[in-house]
């Protein structure tokens, strides 16, 4: 069975088996990811995929819009990896009234 390396921007990383939910994999290996509901509804574990391919499972029940998915966001409690991946915290989008993006 394939296994993928998932790296967080903090530098921490963990391995995820094919089909394994990324939050479950992280917690199993002692990597802390802020989370709560564990069923894709509270959005606490919303991340941006910087590199690699990650599938959002259960799109129909998860509280994530198509707009967000197209922008590379995923809820880790309900996502699986298809390759090695790098995950980043959400970058605040530039507001129309602002001259530059603010983090």
């Amino acid at each position: 069975m394939s296994e993928y390396r998932i790296t967080l921007e903090s530098g921490e990383s963990f391995m995820a088996k094919q089909g394994e939910l990324l939050l479950d994999a992280a917690l199993r290996q002692g990597v802390t990811i802020n989370h709560s509901c564990r069923n894709g509804t509270c959005r606490t574990c919303l991340f941006e995929i910087k590199e690699g391919s990650v599938t959002q499972e259960g799109e129909e029940i998860c509280m994530i819009s198509q707009q967000e998915r197209e922008n590379g966001r995923r809820l880790l409690c309900m996502s699986t990896a298809n390759s090695d991946a790098v995950l980043g915290k959400l970058q605040r989008r530039k507001r129309a009234s602002e001259g530059s993006a603010v983090e």
């Binding site: 802020n34 509280m63 707009q67």
Partner: protein, 427 residues
């Protein structure tokens, strides 16, 4: 020759179409009582009433949901269940929120309408067939006793209201009872269809929710709720955390306000928002229970205000809901940390409270995201912008409030008590 018909057994009691028509009226009445209580919550002065109503709002929503689901099982078109209500019944229900004080709200919603609901459920069960309509029986047989329990709880609060003690007035009770009778009661009659004239005793301006939430007049005046200082000791953390929890009543008032203001939402919104309202009142009561155990008097020994609500209410209901949603976005991280910290220090009462609060907030995050986005036409960017805007508005408001008030005399008094508690711990 005409065939002679022989019928064995009892005569039929209620046809499916008649049952669905009555159940729809009862659903509508429950729903509007719930929305009325939600809308008026921010205007309620009495502290005991303020804490009690969210529980009843939630119970009302569950009864309404059971009735609505049953109507749809009875060959009733889905598109019609939330519309085309009897105009006269609508007119009656619209009077309920036009109350001048807590006592008038109780009279209209509880002593007239809920009393009539309890009687209507008893009548329905008597007049319909317990086998043919068994699915209705299964839930409805609990409704009357549940409403009587609500009435008992509210009666105790009502009797202690200052406006009742000084001058109990039965004019409104009588006028609403007469109006209800005129429209054929909650069951209605064919003759009751169409608009009715409203007696002078009931004529009032349409209800407007205040921008600053009402607080019990017995409470001492304050501008904001959290002491403007960092907590240094675990004891301070326990007490500051308790004050913060009690003041979560604002977070019950926000769902209450949108329950009332938004009258065109899918049913699921009302059901979820009623639960949200109740949960936040539970968080408030969790804090109050802990503060009482320390010997603190609510609103006297620490402030109870509506500072968060007040800071953005001028921006409208969506801004209010969005501010609540934004605060809850940080909830899981904050509440899980509190749970772990209190657990480690051996304060299991507080850790348990935060544990359940954390679970509740996981649900609320779903509600907040879903319904704010719904109001914004599904545009996630707009939601993020609005969250930024209300957070900035709150930050500016509280910064200005800190300049206006130094939290005295509450801060000195709280610190004196903390010194006493620390001395007791050393004995």
């Amino acid at each position: 020759m005409e065939e002679k018909v022989i019928v064995m057994g009892e005569a039929g009691r209620k046809a499916v179409d008649d049952a669905s028509a009555v159940l729809k009226r009862l659903y509508y009445t429950e729903r509007e009582c719930m929305r009325t209580l939600g809308g008026y919550l921010v205007s309620v002065s009495d502290w005991e009433l303020k804490k009690k109503l969210p529980y009843h709002i939630w119970q009302d929503s569950l009864r309404a949901d059971a009735l609505r689901s049953r109507v749809l099982e009875l060959r009733y078109p889905r598109r019609d269940v939330d519309q085309d209500h009897d105009e006269a019944l609508t007119q009656y229900l619209q009077q309920l929120i036009r109350s001048l004080n807590d006592a008038e709200l109780i009279v209209g919603v509880y002593f007239v309408t809920k009393q009539a609901l309890a009687e209507a459920y008893d009548t329905y069960l008597t007049e319909s067939d317990p086998l043919d309509d068994a699915p209705t029986y299964e839930f409805m047989r609990r409704f009357s006793s549940e409403i009587h329990a609500q009435l008992d709880e509210i009666r105790a609060i009502y009797d202690a209201l200052p406006e009742v003690i000084s001058n109990e007035d039965h004019t409104r009770t009588q006028a609403l009872s007469e109006l209800l009778q005129e429209i054929g009661g909650l069951f209605g009659t064919e003759a009751s269809k169409g608009p009715v004239s409203i007696s002078e005793a009931l004529v009032r301006e349409p209800y407007t929710a205040p921008l600053v939430p009402a607080r019990d007049p017995r409470f001492r005046k304050a501008i904001y709720h959290m002491p403007p200082v960092e907590w240094n000791t675990f004891l301070e953390h326990q007490i500051w955390g308790g004050i913060n929890h009690v003041n979560e009543i604002w977070a019950a008032e926000v769902p209450g306000t949108v329950l009332w203001k938004w009258d065109d939402m899918p049913w699921e919104f009302y059901l979820e928002t009623a639960r949200w309202c109740f949960d936040e009142s539970r968080h408030c009561m969790m804090g109050e229970q802990r503060m009482k155990a320390w010997g603190f008097r609510t609103g006297i020994d620490f402030p109870v205000v509506g500072d968060h609500y007040e800071s953005v209410s001028h921006m409208g209901e969506l801004a209010l809901l969005c501010l609540l949603h934004d605060f809850e976005t940080n909830g899981p991280g904050l509440k899980s940390t509190f749970k772990a910290k209190f657990e480690k220090m051996g304060d299991t009462a507080s850790s348990q409270d935060f544990d359940y609060d954390w679970a509740d907030e996981s649900i609320h995050l779903q509600y907040g995201y879903k319904w704010c986005l719904h109001r914004l036409g599904g545009d996630n960017d707009k939601l993020e912008d609005l969250k930024d805007e209300v957070r900035e508005t709150w930050n500016a408001w509280i910064e200005q409030a800190h300049q206006r008030w130094d939290y005295e005399p509450f801060l000195s008094e709280l610190r004196q008590k903390i010194v006493k508690f620390e001395a007791m711990a050393c004995e």
